[in-house]
Each structure stands twice: as C-alpha cells, then as structure tokens.
Symmetry: C2
Subunit: 369 residues, 2 copies
C-alpha cells in the first residue's frame, strides 16, 4: 500500500492476435469464453497507460489519446473499477487484524495507443490489459486477480498480460476462477514477425459482442467447432510453437481463421467480415506458399489481415504484396528500418487493392513497466 | 424395342435448385453423394432434348445449342452411354429365351437450353436428366435405372426427373442401387416462384467437382454437417412443404445455403463463391423479411442468387430489388408478363450492383414429353 496516499505506475502493453480464435461467451457478464484461445502479442502496437491511485472512493476517470471517456456510456470501465474496489474491500477484511487503516482508492487512467484507433486495429485489448496491469502493481494483486480484471474489461485483454505464446483457458467454473490466460512456453520464438494490413471498408460492421451472441444463438456448427476442433488445434499450436515448426503453425492458424469466419457465415443472419481485399490477400498468400508454407494469414472480426512470417521471409512477402496491393510509402520505409533491408518498389502502376496502413512488427514481446 | 430400327423421343426437362445442398461425394465414379439433398425444379429454365436410337454399337453424338460436344474431352457422356449399353446387354441376357434378336443401339442427342449456358446457370443437370429420360423412354427402363443414368452424368441431374419436391437419397450401398431421387409429396405447392439473378463475376471459379473434393478432404466441419445437420433439415423441408409453411421453409433454405458456403470457407484453401453482389442480395432479403419472412435466398457454387417467394409476394420483392440492383428492362417486361402485373420503375438512378439477367419462374413442374 502506498505511504503517501498517491501513487502511480506506467505500463506499455502490446495488442495480441489470436491464432486459434475466441468466438462466443459462456457468460456475458463475467466474459467467460465458450472455448480456449491462443495468441501472440504484436510488440509494436501498444497502449501506454498511466494509472494513478487516489485515496477515497471517488469518481474514476479514463482518458484515451487525449480524449476523456464517458464512463456512463461505456460500462466496461465501470465493471473493472468496481472489481478493483471489491478486491480492496476483500483485502481490508483480511488485513484488519494487522491494524491497517481502511483506506480505499479510486483511479485515474491516462492511456495512449501508438496507432490510430480509427485504423480498425483492436486497441481495447491492449488498453484494458494495461489498466489491469497498472492496478495489479498498485494494489499488489496476484496474476489470477489481474487476469480477471483485464478480462471483464475486454475478454481477450487477458491474453496481453504476458509475452510469448499465451493460452487463454475457458475454465469450467461458474465464477470464472479457473478462466485464466497463461504463458505456455518459457522460451519465446523471437523470429516470428507479423505484417498487418489495414483495408478500409465502408460497410457497417457487426460488432464482436453482437456477432458472438448471434453465432452462439444461431449457428448449428459452433458447438461442434468448440467441442471437437478447437481443443486439438490449441495442442497443435503449442506443439508447433515449441518445436519451431512453422509449417504446422501456419496451417492451423489459417484453418482456424477460416473456420471462425465459416461459423460467422453459418449464423442467422449470416455475418461477413472478409471483403474483396481480404480475399485478395488470401490468394496472394496461397501463391506465396505454393512451394513451401512460409506465411499464415489470420483475420479477426473485420477485413484487416495479419500475416505471420519468420523474419527471413518478411522481405519477400512484402514484395509479393506489392505486386497487387498499394501500400503507403511511409509504411514501406518503416518496414525497411524494422527489417534493416531496403526495398525496391515502383509506385507507378496503380493497384486494384489499396491498403491504408501496413505495420510490421516482431511478435511475442510482453508488457513493460 | 423399336420395330423399324430407328426411334426418337423428345423431352423437355427443367433445371432444379437444391433447398438443402448436395456437397461432397462418397463415390467419385458412381457420383454417390455424402448426404441427402432436396430440391425444386425451375419450370422456365429447361433443356429440350431429342434422343435418337440407332441400331448397332456405334459412335454416340451429342449436340448442345447447335454445337457438337467433343466426347473425348467430356467423359461424363461416355459414362452415360456405356451404362445405356450395359443395360441393353443385361436385358438381352434375360430376354434371350424369348427369341429376341440381339440388336444393340447407340444414340444421337440434340439438346437445346432456353437460357444461355454462359449465363452461369447450371444447365448440365437439366441436360443429363433429359438424356436419361430420353433413353428411359426408348429402352423402357424403370425409374431406378433412369435415375442412375442421370446421376452418373451429373449428380444433381437425378433431381430433375420429377416435378414437385424431390428428395435425392444418398443411399448406403456401395453399388449405388439405393441412391435414388424420389418425389416426396403427391400434391405440388404450385404457388412457389423463384427469381434468379445472374451476377457476372470476373473471378476464376472453383468448379463443383473440384470444390466438393477439396471440402471433403479438408473441411473439419463437413462430416458434422452431413451427419448431424442435413438429416434434420431434409425432414424440416418436407414437413414445411407439405404444410405449406413458407416461413419455416424459407429459414431452412437460407440457413442451408449459408452453411454450404461456410463449409466451402472451412476448406483448405478456402473456397469462395459469394461476391459483393451476392451479399447485397442477402441484405436486401434480410430487410424484405424484417416483419415477416416472405422470401428465401439460396446460392449454388457461384455468385448467382435464386430467391424463392410465394406468387403473392413476387411483385413487392422485385420492387425491393430495383431499389439497389440494376435489372435489364427486357427481363422486367418478361416478369410483368409472367406475373400479369405491371411495374413502375425508373431507370434513371444508376445502381451500384448490376444483374445481367433476371428470370422469374414458377417452381415444381416436371419433365414433359
């Protein structure tokens, strides 16, 4: 507990990309998933968050990228702060005998993402993970408590609490106490990179929460996927990661991304996240993998692609992309810096598909204080 | 058997649309499906076929829409003619004791479809059904024999051999003898119409045979669909059809079309048949059905839509389509004639989606001599 009544902590937390997808909740309030999922962080897309603890039960505040968040219209923050208060009360009950003062705290959160929220890259996972980590440090919470704090903010946020391959276990218990994310492998595969392509899309998107609910209620394939397919894939990913077997890793990643979109299509009414640009990317990767599987695409609840490669193949992948996709030249320059390679590209031939942003990043890094 | 050594028969056979989709073969050679399917014919899209029987085992010929078919490069015809010869031989064995002469016949087929083959509307089902029906008449085959003849030409052709709701049973036997299509309901639902919209598409399509094979070999959802979903849906369609329950019929039709495309997406590499125009049509129908389910979309292995409605709702459906889809005015005129209704439409506002052909047709009519 702080001595001076005020303490603050700053953490930087990366977003994460699921290799086996989370889709469907078994408990809407506690955000308990219907199935396990497994993910890697994207080191360069982070939320940097300062959490300040202020004595007294007061009004919590959240500022994201310079804008105050209206907490009344965004209940997820309230849920997190209520849980933080509950944890303080619980500790007070236990520590009364030590003669501690019964002081409670509220929080001030100031968060900055290093990528535009409007780009369509899920930033809430990194943001809530950062808040949870901050509160964990300030209140000395254990990992299970911090995990829960992140999860009730934004389900997949609990997968951003560690580096390396992270396995979010659905758990069995009603109270969610066995629903936690864990780091699966002590040694990180530092050679994995991802290339994220943002494809803008005029269509109104079905939000993840709404989409998950619709699929759970109407898809006749989801239950089978959850019970019979996902558990095997989680094991395959863990084994492939630990053996540094890129080919198997890639096959499972692509198959699971496609199956996630298949159960979306099997919902009533059907949900569509992939657009023409996404499908063009799929075709480019199929061609790129013709002789040897060197890249894996994966798509979340939107058209943007995340392509996973080993560092050695990143440059030739970018060349393949450049054949038919227009990429902002400043992003190519950043890619050159990141890979310490130089690309020769002509911007003369106009391309049918335009990517509004490309980010290249190593994967698997953890949060930083 | 013909007395004069030459005999010919002319039949007109409609194409059919599956309400529960056939996707995947349990036997590639005999074209035995992995699952039951159920369909309705489209009365106005037909193949008119003359089959002439010529004495002697000779060179069979097939002409479609004025063009001679190169039989060497299209083995499916050969398979059908070989089966026809086998049936003649078999009968000869049995009839020798009657003192019949052992004369065999070969065939000349002249077929005309009343819609452009290039329009992307599956014409082969109607064509092979017509050939099978012609040969059935000429050789006095029973329904099971004729069914097999159609099926080994083009699987779903066996569903065009009858009017009304037709159930193609997958059967269990290895020789396919219990794999037959049957008419399920004595009384036809004459009020059902379909509106077919052809959306041209520059993409190279994965053919049905190749697609089915890929899905069977790689989709981890297909088996579950086949075993646990399809049988229920077949029963639901039969019951809804017999009770004239349009709402249930429509829900099952749409869910099954979407699930068929979902297992395509679940294949490796993923198969995509729906394009932006198809998805726009889906959204139009969702909106059209907002208060009451009055229309059902279904898509085969391509972007073209088939929308099923009761006759009373056909006009207002066409109005809904006209809001955002450009439809050739000559097709609207034919629709006016067919429905004995007149449409008011302006062709002034250009539409984002263009349909190159619209056909409106009653459903459920059978083949005609």
């Amino acid at each position: 507990m702080p001595q001076n009544g005020i303490e603050s902590v700053t953490v930087r937390v990366p977003m994460n990309i699921a290799l086996v997808k989370y889709w469907g909740k078994r408990d809407e309030k506690l955000i308990l998933p219907l199935n396990d999922s497994i993910s890697l962080t994207v080191d360069k897309l982070t939320a940097e968050t300062t959490v300040r603890m202020i004595p007294g039960v007061g009004k919590n505040t959240v500022e994201i990228n310079g804008k105050q968040v209206e907490l009344n219209s965004n209940k997820r923050y309230e849920t997190v702060f209520e849980e933080a208060l509950r944890l303080q009360r619980k500790r007070k009950d236990h520590s009364d005998s030590n003669g501690n003062q019964s002081v409670f705290y509220h929080f001030e959160v100031i968060s900055k993402t290093n990528f535009p929220v409007a780009a369509g890259l899920a930033s809430s996972a990194a943001g809530f993970a950062a808040i949870a980590l901050g509160i964990q440090r300030l209140l000395n919470l254990d990992d299970v408590q911090a995990n829960r704090l992140a999860r009730i903010g934004s389900g997949s946020a609990c997968r951003s609490m560690f580096g390396g391959l992270v396995h979010w276990k659905k758990g069995e218990k009603e109270d969610g106490s066995d629903c936690v994310a864990v780091k699966t492998d002590e040694s990180n595969w530092t050679d994995l990179y991802c290339i994220i392509l943002v494809f803008n899309d005029g269509r109104k998107k079905v939000g993840s929460s709404e989409g998950m609910k619709r699929t759970r209620e109407t898809s006749t394939l989801l239950k089978y996927r959850i019970e019979s397919i996902v558990p095997k894939r989680i094991e395959q990913i863990k084994e492939a990661y630990s053996n540094r077997n890129f080919e198997t890793l890639a096959h499972v990643i692509m198959a699971d991304s496609n199956q996630f979109h298949a159960v979306c299509l099997d919902s009533v009414p059907p949900i569509r996240y992939l657009n023409d640009a996404s499908w063009q990317l799929i075709e480019i990767i199929e061609k790129f993998n013709e002789n040897e599987t060197r890249a894996a695409y994966t798509f979340d609840a939107g058209p943007n692609a995340c392509v996973i490669v080993q560092k050695k193949d990143a440059k030739s992948l970018i060349y393949s992309l450049l054949q038919s996709i227009e990429i902002p030249s400043e992003d190519l320059k950043s890619a050159e810096e990141e890979l310490k390679e130089s690309f020769e590209f002509s911007t003369e031939t106009p391309k049918s598909t335009v990517c509004s942003k490309l980010v290249i990043s190593p994967m698997g890094g953890g949060p930083q204080d």
